[in-house]
Amino acid sequence: MTILEVNNVKKVYTTRFGGNHVQALSDVSFSVEEGEYVAIMGESGSGKTTLLNIVASLDKPTSGEVLLSGKSIVSIKDKEISAFRRNNLGFVFQDFNLLDTFSLQDNIFLPLVLSGKSYREMDSMLKPISTKLRITDILDKFPYEVSGGQKQRAAVARALITNPKLVLADEPTGALDSRASDDLLKIFSDINDEGQTILMVTHSTKAASHAKRVLFIKDGMVFHQLNKGSMTNEEMYQKISDTLNIIATGGGRNE
């Protein structure tokens, strides 16, 4: 079943006085099936983050449509969009975006509290997830008291606790050291094996090599696509590097 469908999405930023038009996305189309683990790669400024923001309904495309489980998220009313985001999407960010004023546990509870769940319900949902992510011991700590890897695991827990249809990750390993990165990628693979659909934006080859499918974006378009199939992570890594090389050395626009 197709979870996410992105059709001919175009995004043009206009400067405040309407003078300059910057085309962030020119024509992007792709789809994500249920249970998939897709990575989107591209250099800085290639439009990755814009694309993710549109999928996350934080931003609206200039044209084109985005369907989540067959429902267009472009046409959702402003009033309902927050609730929609809360119930269907989970977010993992590069800089964690944990709130300093909350303990880790409260940070994880945040989306649930916003949906008005009772404490008991939340607590029972938290237990299995915190065990899985190995953060049970540090739940009472505050974000500034724990390491980056622990913070990111808490952020993952926050993304997962609502049982979202789709987890969106924006450079999740960007602020982590290599050990914590490996750890996090393993967690992603594990939850994907359990059936969680993940869409990840990254420019780390290593992170992308864990995904089952990698999309390459260049100049606002989907440039190339790699399927992992039965390749190992290492082989995938090699393949991605090659592709990036081709793109970087000016493979041009000949697909």
Binding site: R86, T101, L114, S115, Y144
Partner: protein, 625 residues
Amino acid sequence: MMFYIMYFIADNDGLNNMSGGPQLRTLLTMGTFIIGMFSVIFLFYTNSFLIKRRKKEFGLFNILGMEKKHISKVMLWESFFTAVISLVAGLLSGIIISKLMFLLLLNIVQFDVTLNYLVSMQSLIGTTILFIAIFVLTLLNNLRHIHLAKPIELLKGGQVGEKEPKTKWILVIVGIITLSIGYYIALVTESPLAAMSKFFTAVLLVIIGTYALFIAGTIALLKLLRKNKKFYYQTKHFIGVSGMIYRMKQNAVGLSNICILSTAVLVMLSTTVSLYIGMEDLLKNRFPKEIAVTVDNVSAEQTNTIESIIKDEAKKHDITIKDALFYRYLSFPVVQKGSSFIADRSSLNTPADLTMITLIPLNDYNQMEKRSVTLNEGEVLLFNFRGEQIEDKITLNETSLKVKEQIEDMTIDGKSSALIVDSIFLIVKDEMAMELFPAEELNKTNTKNLSFYYGFDAEGESNQEIALTKSLQKTLKDEGFEAFSEGAEESRESFFSLYGGLFFLGIFLGALFIMATVLIIFYKQISEGYDDKERFEIMQKVGLSKIEIKKAIKSQVLLVFFLPLVTAVVHIAFAFKVITKLLALLNLTNISLFAICTAGTILIFAVFYGIIYALTAREYYKIVS
């Protein structure tokens, strides 16, 4: 932003140099001093606020290769220009507005002074010096900050990782104790004189308590709320409570400042307003009879002479004497210990124990009150004017006296109400009056006989009344009497200048403080808005809708805004009783008037506050979203 105070200072100084009446002048000088102090504090505060925001900028300069020397130079020029511009603007507007203010003051005081308005050089120079000094000080302070800090620290500025504040239970307890003692004192104090000395202790305690509770108590309370899972995990409370814990850590001191400031404003405004409005009342209290004459050392026969002199003089001035009241008396201070009174003042511990005793012969009392009471040996009648309850047996200098009757009400000389000590009137058998008078006082005060009081309401023109009051004293003195006369009309003017001046000062300082309070809160909220921006962005990403954000902001700002106000009102509610006692010293006994004035000022203050709140909340929301 600094202009406000600037011109207020300027015009106050201007007023000060021209106003008539020494009392008024001292009052206004005091006001100038307060405003001066205040502007120092306020400018420092705003400066620290601005410099925090600009640290990043300076850090960047530093990293880009500017030496600290250069930055200092930039800052020097910057503050030079702001100082010059704000001084010029402030003084100009001060000169213009001071004229207006002066007219207002004259109107309030009801003086007929011709307006010889000119620019007062002295106040211009004074203002300039004060503000240059302030600017230099703030500049030095800023330079100190820059020199001490490292470039990276400057760049990071305020965003150093905040730790969650700890609950300081000891401070909470201290706060609760001091606050409750303060309140207790305010509630149990009965005597006006005691009120005066204890009032300051109470104020001090309440101030300490306020600080302690704002600093530690709020955090403790919020943490308790957080422990209550059912309450805490609701969208509104969740964001609010956690945010407030951090908010309070940074702002507790500021909020308690605001709280105390607003309490001061409210007390000041309500008392001065009620004094001014209640002025007629006050005159009535102070002068039960419009004109009163007292003559010392008068024998029973001489009273008739005096009476006829007074009547003659009144006729000369075309004034009809109405409701004349006269009696002979003797009064002297004693030290009160329960029901015993000792003339020896060396045993005095606190001024609160001092009591004025006035002896009135029974004959005079019967004549005056149209009664026919008889007294046996050792028996007295007692009228307790503003004092503690006294038993029916008293000792006066080792003479035991039995109180035959405690009189409920009696027309007396208004002077007693002007005294700050308690007063007791004893009606004694005629010949006992001199006997009871303590021997050592006789020599000290050169008292040989009783004093005579003659008071009456006068019907006639007011300047004639004033003239009569003056000529009475003169004529009687010429006749060889130790006479003293006073009149309501004569005193009205000085009353107006005193209370009118107070009223003016109250309004003036009140307006200033309100403005300062409001500005402080406004800046606080705006700077917090910048800090909170990130938080709300994250929450939006996680799924908080705009409406919910608005709600959360509203409740948060609401709390920060109205916590000090509510506390201030509570303070005033507790202080109400003591303040009425203090006002009684100033002859104002109309409690309901004071209550209305208090309620009125609180209402006006709250309205101002509400407007600013609405503005701030909107501004805050704009920043955050």
